[in-house]
């Protein structure tokens, strides 16, 4: 086998499809439809014939825009195995933004919800569109029939006796070719198209193979958006190249739905954003810990450990009881929730990455995970803190390695300001590192505020404390005339649950209470309540630059 083939994601997919031909591959959780690997292969074949009929060539861009589903996964696999460049777009973008992004990336083909059929005025759609709901042509026309006629004829010619696993053959990818064009949602401005070569995902898959279980037929439960690199790489691509059965959540990941799904799926691994675990802990664990009797029991020697063990077991069972560890990423975990998880000895870890690295940069196994840390440099990656004293003075995390992007599509200026002349990618995140190489993130460089005494203030730290120690669910800390002001939001649902109203909240008392948990240089001088939630990017980060 050639060297390019041994690491090839596409060859791996080919092998898995053949080996797992009769095994379940994709299920939309809660639906009655499950695709076997054979069914996935047939649909991939259909896409390839359509691409050929339309004259689409390897390297052309294909946009996939919708929420998670089995059909999304099939469309993505079809694009990748054709060596076209996949452009996953989150459906949360407005129609205007989607149109702009499709035009920016020069897409030749689009797979999307039928709701986007009229994205372009009648007759002006620059590309062939497939409805992701059924993977059939979007709008009926003579043109549709012509393209399909060609595809049907190709099928009859190539597979006169039907399509079998012997017909599954994909060419190995070239590691330097462009694989994905992923638009970052821009919490600070306009979206940028991150160009990820195959090499980046090959390296990420190598990392995953060392960190996650890999057994044929293992079960994974996908709740992260697959259009986001964290979910794409480790939930979707890794799962499918392992021959796993992927259960895909197509609804909003409410704790009740998730917990029901865990009980039936019993996944072998689970990835999520911290918010999911925070909601589960808030719903399942904190009410137990807050009982007055617990405070007494916790003081009795030996009982503390027993209670922690009991909580750990219940939490593990609630998540299906079959997973190696829960991996969180994409945002910081609340310090309070992390404290509880560690106290009960729950198997979890927190990684760090960014779209520009496809995504992994740092990670550590749950057994060596350190509180407040996001792990050590991931496999194949060189990571350091750009600071005169990296252990004590926070500096920007910079990284180098095969996971790195090529640059931003059609944006040389942004590329140059992110990747320096020595090839280091500047993440924009500030951190310190300990003697063993564990990184501790302090905040975003561009969010950092300068205190009146010259002290660096990381608003994310204060925001975490506000959310952990108050009823507020969202917070942005801003600086006004040298003083810190917390802009806060609590939902109507939470207010109803607590039997109160926004007007009844004593902001001054809450502010004083939160300040008890904050260092002197980070004290809040005021709290300002909002009656609507903060504006967010499609990846659900708050658009901070809108708030002053």
């Amino acid at each position: 086998m050639r060297e390019t083939e041994s690491a090839s994601i596409v060859k791996r997919l080919e092998a898995v499809i053949c080996e797992q031909w009769d095994c379940d591959a994709l299920t939309d959780y809660g639906s009655d439809v499950t695709y076997k690997y054979s069914g996935v292969a047939k649909r991939i074949c259909y896409f390839h014939l359509l691409f050929e009929s339309l004259g689409i060539k390897p390297g052309d861009k294909v946009a996939i825009c919708d929420k998670n589903s089995s059909n999304w996964a099939i469309a993505m696999l079809a694009v990748l195995t054709y060596h076209a460049v996949a452009v996953p777009l989150l459906p949360d973008y407005s129609k205007e933004q989607l149109k702009m992004l499709c035009e920016h990336c020069d897409a030749k083909f689009m797979i999307a919800s039928y709701r986007l059929a009229n994205l372009w005025p009648e007759g002006k759609c620059p590309m062939y569109m497939i409805d992701i709901g059924d993977l059939l042509a979007m709008s009926p026309s003579i043109y549709t029939d012509e393209v399909e006629d060609k595809a049907y004829a190709l099928f009859a010619k190539r597979y006169p006796n039907g399509f079998t696993k012997e017909h599954v053959h994909f060419e190995a990818e070239n590691p330097d070719d462009l694989m994905i064009l992923s638009y970052t949602s821009g919490s600070t401005g306009n979206p940028k198209g991150v160009m990820l070569p195959w090499r980046s995902l090959q390296s990420n898959m190598q990392f995953a193979a060392n960190a996650l279980p890999c057994e044929k037929g293992m079960r994974a439960f996908l709740i992260l958006p697959m259009a986001h690199m964290f979910g794409f790489a480790f939930d979707f691509l890794y799962g499918v190249t392992c021959g796993a059965h992927l259960f895909i959540l197509t609804k909003i990941p409410a704790p009740k739905v998730i917990l029901e799904a865990f009980a039936t799926i019993r996944p072998n691994y689970f990835l999520c954003v911290p918010l999911v675990m925070e909601k589960i802990i808030n719903a399942k664990v904190i009410p137990i810990l807050k009982k007055p009797v617990m405070k007494v029991l916790f003081k009795i020697p030996g009982i503390h450990q027993l209670i922690c063990r009991q909580i750990r077991q219940q939490l593990t069972i609630a998540l299906g009881g079959n997973f190696y560890e829960v991996i969180m990423g994409g945002a910081a975990l609340s310090k309070e929730v992390e404290r509880i998880l560690r106290m009960v000895g729950f198997r979890f870890t927190i990684g760090y990455g960014m779209t520009e690295c496809g995504p992994i940069i740092t990670y550590s196994d749950w057994k060596e995970h350190r509180p407040g840390s996001c792990g050590k440099a991931a496999l194949n990656m060189e990571v350091k803190v750009d600071s005169p004293d990296p252990m004590n003075i926070p500096g920007e995390i910079i990284t180098k390695g095969p996971n790195m992007m090529r640059g931003y599509y059609k944006n040389e200026e942004a590329t140059k300001s992110t990747i320096d002349e020595d090839g280091w990618l500047h993440t924009g995140d500030l951190a310190v590192v300990d003697k063993d190489g564990f990184f501790f993130i302090r905040g975003r460089k561009k969010n950092m505020l300068l205190g009146s005494n010259g002290q660096n203030i990381y608003p994310e730290e204060a925001e975490d404390q506000v959310v952990s120690h108050s009823i507020f669910e969202e917070c942005v800390v801003v600086q006004r005339e040298g003083k810190l002001v917390a802009l806060v939001y609590v939902s109507d649902m939470m207010l109803r649950k607590l039997g109160t109203t926004r007007e009844e909240l004593d902001l001054e008392a809450i502010r004083r209470d939160v300040n008890l948990h904050l260092p002197n240089y980070c004290q809040l001088s005021k709290m300002e309540q909002r009656d609507e939630e903060f504006v967010k990017t499609p990846k659900k980060s708050i658009r901070r630059f809108l708030y002053k």
Partner: protein, 122 residues
């Protein structure tokens, strides 16, 4: 055998007048049999949706799609069949395809929809 309703769907191709499909629906002892004759292409499928309304209304019964004389199907036609299948699944009925020719069957296989239907030869 009682004929409940007979449809003669005349459809115009964009390229000028041509009959592309004829759909006949019969109730044979409680089993709804829809017979397709001609080509179920994009323009035909748009019109055929209205004509298949009685099947959607009786999706809790057994439905047979007789494709003995169906010459061609493209994605809008497939979508029509899928819509029927979905309605039948929701309402607890039963649906099958009768006497499909090899070329049309290939389209079901190629798009992966062969897994969603029972195919019978009468």
């Amino acid at each position: 055998m009682k004929v409940v309703r007979i449809f003669f769907v005349t459809l115009q191709l964009i390229t000028k007048t041509q009959f592309t499909i004829m759909i006949t629906i019969k109730n044979e002892n409680g089993v709804y049999v829809a017979s397709f004759e001609g080509r179920l292409d994009a323009p035909a499928a748009q019109k055929a949706l209205d004509e298949l309304e009685p099947l959607l209304a009786n999706a809790d019964k057994e439905i047979v799609l007789d494709c003995t004389n169906l010459e061609y199907i493209s994605s809008p036609g497939l979508r029509l069949f899928l819509r029927l299948r979905k309605e039948v699944a929701n309402k607890g009925g039963k649906i099958s395809i009768l006497n499909i020719n090899n070329e049309v069957k290939d389209v079901f296989v190629l798009t992966g929809f062969d897994e969603f239907f029972d195919f019978n030869n009468g």
